[in-house]
Amino acid sequence: MKFFHQFFEGRLWSLVRKEIAQILRNKQLIVLLIIPPTLQLLVYGFALNPDVRYLKLGIVDYAQTADSRELVSAFTDNQIFIPQQFLFSEKALATQVETGALTAGVVIPPEFSRRLANAENTDIQILVDGVDANTAGIASGYLAQMVQQYALNRLGTTQALPIKTEVTFLYNPGLSSSWFFVPGVMGLVLTLIGTIVSSITVVREKDTGTLEQLLMTPAAEWEILLSKIVPLFVLLMGDVMLALTLGRVIFNLPFRGSFLLFMGLSGLYVFVGISVGILLATVCQSQQQVVLTTFFINLPMVQLSGAIAPIETMPPFFQSLSWFNPLRHYIAIVRGILLKGVGLEALWGNALMLGAFVVVLFAVSTNRFRKQLS
């Protein structure tokens, strides 16, 4: 009790109270803590969607027989392709694919049924718009599978295929893409907001010259620094909760792991954000410079973190570079805890890296801050 009494009467507490009052008075800062994270989570979560379905398929059926119609319905009896047009010439189909009006086109030759009846080989032409390389790959794979399935049915193989592959998607059985992006955006939001808010609050005292006044008071350097960090930490942890709530309520994100571990490691990451922010504030002279410089740091940090494009798809050089990106480790942790439900036994590597970043960045930034004070 004596300790608490001393604390609340003490210098540190009054400094903290001053910081909290300053932050609460700054409407812009409060808006910054709530609006951008919410917007970003919603737009990323809804707009980034790699689903391959409802692709526009054009069909030229020169054969016009029962067989060919059966093949056509094999192509279109699913949610992947919707028959956009039944055209009458290959040329018209080609123009449509060329301008991008159709994603894929199928041409069934006139002799289709005759050749099948005579057990001769038949070719089916498939055109795919390859501008979107990713969708084109998946779509042409589906089309080939459908043709093969049709051929098998046609040959009247009543018996099942000898090998049946039973694919199970772990962690995300519905393959809902927002489950991948939302944990990434949680990390992204914390990085952007954490660095900006912390650098602005520090640099503002420099701007207005009140930092010198603070130095005149009997408060020690570490007290000044701590009083700046504590309220920021609390506010940013509020952002963690905000992001988590949005993810749970709007995107139905699972939470399979330990809540305590999640909050603990999120706390570590918030420290990374604050340290980077303080570091920037000590390098820059004014608020404008700070805001512009955060651009230089955040852009590569976010893009090389696996928040949007998965790490595994990057070229090897960028993959190794991303090891030195704290955000990469935090996102791996969030995805691990939320989706996979794993604990430290699987995430210790990422947690260790995150811890190392906190120690190094925090030491460097506080050291610079103290040097500037004295």
Binding site: L127, N134, Q145, A151, Q303
Partner: protein, 372 residues
């Protein structure tokens, strides 16, 4: 008319002189766009190569081994040795593999006896896109294996001859880099223009303009002209480097691209000026451009995934995003190559949206003007 032009021009020259003096914004104008081009162009890829795949082979027969070899022969998978773990799921839990194929002990016995057999495949579904790619690939390889081992009737009777147009090798750079031009050339010109406009307000020099005979439209056009010049230089640098480094070439008539680019840059500058007249602080301006401009150009433009995948209310919004139309132009110029017939509507849309930005900005600004 002469007077108007003169005022616009002198405003433009003053702006350019100011721009040259500020080191940080200069770096922002040239260093950051090039850096973004490299990062987006090199690091954003959607389809995974060398996916770590683990095969748990309970059968250990010649047949099961040849099935395993065929899976690895696709060059899409990278073999991961069976580690000392309790269950296949642990391999995915720890991120050792992205997929595990479990070959049951009775694999070859059942096949030889003409009995169907089930092969279990566990796929890490975290990344939905690549989960789909992995599933397709394993199914296709299994089918090819059955055909090769003559386990299924010959389906080569009907052969799909697939041609992937424009980009037969499905090089993802051809998809990403033209889109990167649109994202980069949207964010940075608008950011510079917004900062310039707000700075005038912060320093109070805008009061002199309000009191002078210069109209709001002239002020905006003068600044727009200055930053359009800067943006054109930026565009030449970014697009030139992009063409050289990623080996792009014009696929057809380049005129839609050559005409569309300045129009797009002008729309971007106008967007920045509009933000600049609406907010009063540089921080707020940067935040607004970063949030609104960056988010929409990146996510609602069809840069990463097809536009048709954006769900309903957001899909309406994406119609108002100039980057969406410019991406149509750049992808046509470097990949599709159809020319005006395919993209004539895109420059019109860009100009219309740019005009709206200008008119709104002028209206907001002229409200503050001292009436003479």
């Amino acid at each position: 008319v002469n007077g108007i032009l003169k005022r616009i021009l002198s405003q433009c020259i003053k702006e350019l002189a100011q721009f040259r003096r500020d080191r940080l914004t200069l770096a922002l104008a040239f260093l950051l766009p090039v850096m973004s081009l490299f990062i987006f162009g090199f690091a954003i890829r959607l389809e995974a190569k060398d996916i770590p795949l683990m095969v748990q082979d309970f059968d250990r027969s010649v047949l099961s081994r040849s099935y395993q070899d065929r899976l690895y022969a696709t060059h899409q998978f990278q073999p991961v040795p069976w580690a000392d773990i309790a269950s296949p799921q642990q391999a995915l839990d720890r991120g050792l593999a992205k997929a595990v194929v479990i070959v049951p002990p009775e694999f070859s016995r059942h096949i030889k006896a003409d009995k169907p057999i089930e092969v279990q495949v566990l796929v890490d579904g975290t990344d939905a896109n690549n989960a789909r790619v992995i599933k397709n690939s394993i199914k296709a390889t299994t089918n090819a294996f059955m055909q090769a081992e003559k386990l299924t009737p010959d389906t080569s009777l009907i052969t799909p001859r697939t041609r992937i147009w424009f980009n037969p090798g499905r090089k993802e750079a051809l998809y990403i880099v033209p889109g990167t031009f649109a994202v980069v050339l949207w964010i940075f010109p608008s950011l510079l223009a917004a900062i310039a406009m707000v700075r005038e307000k912060e320093k109070g020099t805008i009061l002199q303009v309000y009191a002078s005979s210069m109209s709001a439209g002239e002020l905006i056009l003068g600044k727009a002209l200055a930053y359009l010049t800067v943006a054109l230089a930026m565009a030449v640098g970014v697009i030139g480097l992009g063409i050289i480094i990623f080996g792009l070439r014009f696929a057809g008539d380049p005129t839609p691209f050559l005409i569309g680019t300045p129009l797009y840059l002008a729309a971007s500058v106008m967007f920045g000026l509009l933000i600049g007249v609406r907010v009063n602080e540089q921080n707020a301006a940067v935040q607004a451009v970063a949030l609104v401009g960056f988010l929409t150009a990146l996510l609602l433009s069809g840069f990463i995934y097809p536009l048709s995948n954006i769900p309903f209310p957001l899909s309406l919004l994406s119609n108002l995003i100039p980057a969406r139309y410019y991406i149509v132009i750049t992808r046509d110029a470097f990949v599709r190559g159809v020319g005006w017939a395919g993209v004539w509507w895109a420059p019109i849309a860009i100009v219309s949206i740019g005009m709206v930005f200008f008119l709104v900005a002028r209206k907001v600004l002229s409200r503050m003007q001292v009436s003479s």
